[in-house]
Symmetry: C2
Subunit: 585 residues, 2 copies
Amino acid sequence: MYRTATCGELRLCDCGKEVTIAGWVQRSRKMGGMTFVDVRDRYGITQVVFSHEINADLCDAASKLGREFVVQVTGKVEERASKNMNLPTGEIEIIASELKILNKSDVPPFTIEDNTDGGDDLRMKFRYLDLRRPAPRANLELRHRMAFEIRRYLDANGFLEIETPILVKSTPEGARDFVVPSRMNPGEFYALPQSPQIFKQLLMVSGFDRYFQLAKCFRDEDLRADRQPEFTQVDCEMSFVEQEDVINMFEGLVKHIFKYVKNIDFTEAFPRITWADAMKYYGSDKPDIRFGMKFVELTDLVKGHGFAVMDDAEYTAGICVPGCAGYTRKQTDELTDFVKRPQIGAKGLVWVKIAEDGSIKSSVGKFFSDDDLKQWAQAMNANPGDLLLILSGATAKTRKALGELRLEMGNRLGLRPKNQFAPLWVIDFPLFEWDEETQRYYAMHHPFTAPNPEDIPLLHTDTGKVRATAYDIVVNGTELGGGSIRIHDSELQDTMFELLGFTPEKAQEQFGFLMNAFKYGAPPHGGLALGFDRFVSMLAELDSIRDTIAFPKNNSGRDVMNESPSPLDPAQLDELKLQLQPLDK
Amino acid sequence: MYRTATCGELRLCDCGKEVTIAGWVQRSRKMGGMTFVDVRDRYGITQVVFSHEINADLCDAASKLGREFVVQVTGKVEERASKNMNLPTGEIEIIASELKILNKSDVPPFTIEDNTDGGDDLRMKFRYLDLRRPAPRANLELRHRMAFEIRRYLDANGFLEIETPILVKSTPEGARDFVVPSRMNPGEFYALPQSPQIFKQLLMVSGFDRYFQLAKCFRDEDLRADRQPEFTQVDCEMSFVEQEDVINMFEGLVKHIFKYVKNIDFTEAFPRITWADAMKYYGSDKPDIRFGMKFVELTDLVKGHGFAVMDDAEYTAGICVPGCAGYTRKQTDELTDFVKRPQIGAKGLVWVKIAEDGSIKSSVGKFFSDDDLKQWAQAMNANPGDLLLILSGATAKTRKALGELRLEMGNRLGLRPKNQFAPLWVIDFPLFEWDEETQRYYAMHHPFTAPNPEDIPLLHTDTGKVRATAYDIVVNGTELGGGSIRIHDSELQDTMFELLGFTPEKAQEQFGFLMNAFKYGAPPHGGLALGFDRFVSMLAELDSIRDTIAFPKNNSGRDVMNESPSPLDPAQLDELKLQLQPLDK
């Protein structure tokens, strides 16, 4: 061992001890006849002092140390004259008696500090240096701690972690698969799993009862800022359970993580909201309930006053923004511009200001009297000083737009602090989604999700109304995970495939082995998957999952550090019996 | 929840309780006016009794249950009249008052019992049923427990589990890579990692100090009985350490696993043997030291008696097999046939029997007197009743053959019981292996392994003699894992690449990003990887790793359950800008 102590552990009580530390030179500075060197490792930073008076050669050597040199220092722990209480080791320093340079370093291309001068691209190219900075390191430490605590909780609850294969069968349903040519079976390919869904259901058929896995999943999608081609999910499945059992088990897991990782106690049950109410009150199936401003529908109240926008609208609703009656014209114009952005898609915004003195101003004074507007204010539970923001249009689209506006107002008012967490369950999702383009139903979750037993009679008569036994856990407006009770009856599964437009042959081809398995006594079962990268980014209070991953890919799916993907040796292609298509094909 | 108790938990103290269990029908039998049904789940088997006298309809329904039906039974726990003490629940039974069939089952293609009538291929095709049998289930439970305890030990020792990518850069050195075409970067490919070697070394450069991962690794090799295209390794790396530190840490890990998983205490340090001694005494770099029979070299002793085989041999050595002097001619002939098999490759076998009365018989009486042979016996520490088995020939080949013979004798004498474990460290491996065919040196471990510092002066002058700072942990004749101290000095690394025949360009192309990383202050570091599948199979006392894997591939790399790999949709190939070569190319 090159050290007797790490750079993070020495304290006042260690004074007088002879120690050896090893680490990287964070910085070195000369002051009078002394050279001070901060030595850093994963555990902290310790100040080392070289005195010219005591050992001139050593002090000279120390003053020549470059940034990021790897050094080993032996010396005596002493109390500092001027303490640095921001540093856990800030009360001591080491008076060096020996110095060994274990490795030199070129000058790094950016400073190894949280507040670095390195841009994003440079830091990704030199990711191994980027990871020396405290913030990325803390993110990976958090990730480790969370994974460990997830395993501890699930193990204690009788779950077995079972590894499912990475080389699986390609199923062209869903997102695009990454595929792997098989040399031993020329012309055939494996796929990388988009999730272990089918395997975990097979494990329930096998009687494993409680399964989990921190599973690597792969999707060949065009990457957006917050997507990675490979990601990790906490994948779970249980047998002989109903929705309530799954929700309780994983609410327990989420509480456990908050408790043991963030020291946050959730003493109450997480709120639950139906999908229908989530859309009605928040215009989103993943509402951020850190703040209020729930939608109030005004469709009927606003009709018949000659304002065509509202008279003709299928739906009108608004939010009451507390304390913003003083918004200037510039500010309300900004909001109007915000809702008219193509991503939001509203045609305009109606605002009503309820001044502190009770007087009312609005953008629709031409059509509505103060009394009319007071009725609105009453319906929306507005107080003096509040600002009403109202949108009209087709129901689904308008709800979505108003939902975005609500989040924007939450941001503006600072009501979405990253260190405050508001989890909830969204339940009773629709089983099917209608797609206008292809004129068919798609499974909102996946084709194995069980309908709500009460709605089974509606499957053929009122397909779109059938609710699923599906549930999402949402935190701060982000879907942390979701799951469902699965169909365990093969006749019901056949019905589902039929409603989803699978011919029996196609269903057999793609899911045959699962359907066959179900003939041999499938137990009732259900489960859930949590996005692990997302979960970590949430607790790390990050905007992106990328910073929770040691070696992420960029938006083109490239690792700029090792320059992959890369061309193959022609011999490798030959062995795989493959050839490249001309690129202009 | 469909149950109030599992099928494994009810005991005498539960008598009188009303309970509900759910599980699979293991078997049902009628006796007089009663039907007995054994209900099975992951946790055990519970006997349920239906009495015709109490409820005729229910009893009739129960008698119609087929094997593997999924049932839910409510009833009262009662003490059994005739107890089955082989079953943890064997003192009680449930007197059923309700029975619900949750799912029917076709008759399974083989019996769901350890002693099944299903052949290997059938069980693999219906792996989800095979996994219902107690033995495969126990193997996966053991695997879970071992993974959990490995994580617990390493976490307690300050290691962080860090996920490294699965989509990596292809490096055509070493075994063959599986590759993944990139749709977003046409003509380019990712590879699946053969190990996280480079990433873990980068993590040391990043200052993570102690890393581990239960890592999925991939090798596209022609499969032998005990290989899988994807496998799991316990991958670890530490900074600022020397060989002694790594060995101590992972000896601690192995001891922890034996203690907490098998309740076996290793109180002594594991023995260590140099590679040279392992070859000298056991003819193998992974000696099985559950038993003795160490080689004794007789090269000089046996020369000069006119026996050309020994006179001309570079090397003669033997093993002393205790208590086998009574072997018949048939038995010694069998052993001769054994060593002459092409896999062993010896030309013949010399035997000497030391009878209990001290008289001596041998296969070389023509050339050697009894006094000569007594000298052999003395050199080999033989006792009356022992059998000496002796081989001659070229050193390396003969050692290997004698090693195989030693293992064979261990098997014959029952000296290799699976439930006895004899770990040891093999150290001081050679750094290089000479390959006659290509007339160049190869790295015995990998090109990042550090030479023994004492041998650095020999690098250019006596390359083949240089020892590596590399170590394997061997248990019962199987390599459980191995590792090395790595080169952290980029000049020494350049020398290594040069000795291994890499041009600077080739080295830069393949390992450039690692070599660049090393310019920025790489700490001294080293690590180790354990074959996790192997480790599990060892503790499960299995012959093959396949039985430790939930969904393994067969020897052609196929999953016969889901029939992968499989052909792709032509549209998928087009998206990837790939086409298949004609198969007769």
